[in-house]
Symmetry: C2
Subunit: 306 residues, 2 copies
């Protein structure tokens, strides 16, 4: 039997890794445990950005230029919304809206998010398991350190999309995390996996909320020897998004050691090898930039030690 | 000052009349008091079919072939929904969805339906007042007389769209009507109008819920001499929809007298003139088929006695 792989996942970086991982190992052996701290209700729609980014990307349906949403997208609903002066800062394409309509109706019918996510993944013909870390609401809240909202918590998408992560952050909180329970299958996937990969997602706001669900960090720590964290930073910089800035602002080191300091890692790949080793971690230096699925597959093989 | 006109309105028939009425009199003098019994929440979206049909039609934006929804429409969201096996029997075009997103968000923000409707009408540049008869929930429920659901109440769109009004009906109820209050402006518009027109909409399921809101029927009855009902039946048949069948099934006469028996009418136009007069109503026989806005304008002038 092939050893299974569990991946702690945020959005874009994790999704790219998964496109490679499902080429490196049988997709049915892979479970992605995905962040839900970015989830929101907007215009009445239940939106799960990281879950959708993972599904769309592995399905080959993600828009390659934007990096979010579906390719061959149209924007007619947003155009109507604009006519009324409605909020259009969170772009929802027409094709993408169908996913949110489905999720919203199913949730209203009483189906848990994990069930709906499995249905959506099946709709795209995926064989890997895509699982929200929890079926309970966890919401990533950020407190700006500056500007008109200094000291006042705002929701993740308000920070990330509306303000284009352009404001310094004083604190991050995962509202609801203490009361959240891991979704069905999450602890089994982490406990039974041959390898647990921490994807190259934002350590603070993507991996952080996953580990904040009680039981998840413990499950990962219990198998420390088989946990591989892939740094999202290249030469101390995030390829995309505010990971490097957030880590500096919140007092984590701007390096792979900083990344290691956030999660629970054993192997640590890429970057400042000596600093990583000095921190007591094993370290493999490799190319972590995933230009295409083939590069992501190569990185996956390195992560799996094959 | 031009005498104002208030119109009790359902969807298609009323919307067509209004396209003519706003050509016959200054639009700012017209108030459409619109049925909300067809309203529903689906996929999390707050949908108000009759309000949208009125707004889209008067704006010249209705799809002329379907008679509902917007022209130049695309169906990408529905295609995605279908991928998951979601319910697609209630067709929502991408452009149209923008209206529902706006309404849903504004309602969630606490804005009453009448406020949101005014904003939507303004978004289409309309000068007439489009007002839901009430800001409170009123839901038209029908009890099938036959089939697997015989005796079990179903919601209006379940009857009208999903079953394509193909099942005999034993009873109609306007759930919530007793507790509903007329929306701001409704009673003033009815009380102050030079003419109140009952549009050629389905008397049972379009005009019925409007009159069921406490105070509306009384306001109309109080000005009986200036109320003009336009029959939706031509030679005893509905041009569209199940008005004739519903009236038979529920024991109303299949004629303009039947129509008169449902509402409160004074003048009664088209059809069996003698029967109408025998019922104590004044009657004007005229062409009630609104082939185009010009025909609707001519009909409006007849209704206004000009």
């Amino acid at each position: 039997m092939t050893p299974t792989v569990a991946v702690l996942a945020g959005g874009v970086g994790a999704a790219r890794l998964l496109t490679g991982l499902v080429r490196a190992v049988p997709p049915a052996e892979v479970t992605a445990v995905v962040n839900v701290g970015d989830d929101m209700v907007m215009h009445g729609l239940a939106i799960s950005p990281d879950l959708d980014t993972v599904v769309y990307t592995v399905a080959g349906a993600i828009d390659p230029d934007r990096g979010w949403g579906l390719r061959d997208e149209s924007w007619q609903a947003m155009a109507t919304l604009e006519r009324y002066g409605g909020a259009t800062w969170f772009g929802l394409g027409d094709r993408d809206i169908g996913t949110h309509l489905y999720r919203t109706q199913r949730r209203a019918d009483g189906a848990p998010l994990s069930t709906v996510t499995a249905e959506i993944a099946r709709g795209w013909g995926l064989d890997l398991a895509v699982v929200p870390v929890t079926d309970d609401p966890v919401r990533t809240m950020l407190t700006p350190a500056e500007g008109p909202d200094a000291g006042v918590e705002i929701a993740f998408q308000d920070y990330f999309v509306r303000r284009q992560h352009g404001v310094a952050v004083a604190a991050v909180r995962f509202a609801g995390a203490e009361a959240a329970r891991p979704a069905p299958g999450v602890l089994d996937a982490l406990g039974g996996a041959g390898t647990v990969i921490i994807a190259p997602s934002n350590p603070i706001v993507s991996i952080g909320p996953v580990l904040a669900v009680p039981g998840v960090q413990e499950a990962v720590a219990a198998r420390r020897e088989t946990v591989v964290a892939i740094s999202p930073l290249v030469a101390g910089r995030a390829l995309k998004g505010p990971a490097d800035r957030l880590m500096r602002e919140l007092g984590h080191e701007d390096s792979v050691v900083g990344v290691g300091g956030v999660g629970l890692v054993d192997h640590q790949r890429a970057g400042h090898a000596d600093a990583v080793r000095a921190a007591g971690l094993r370290c493999v230096v490799t190319d972590t930039i995933m230009r295409d699925p083939a590069a992501a597959a190569t990185l996956s093989m390195v992560a799996l030690g094959r």
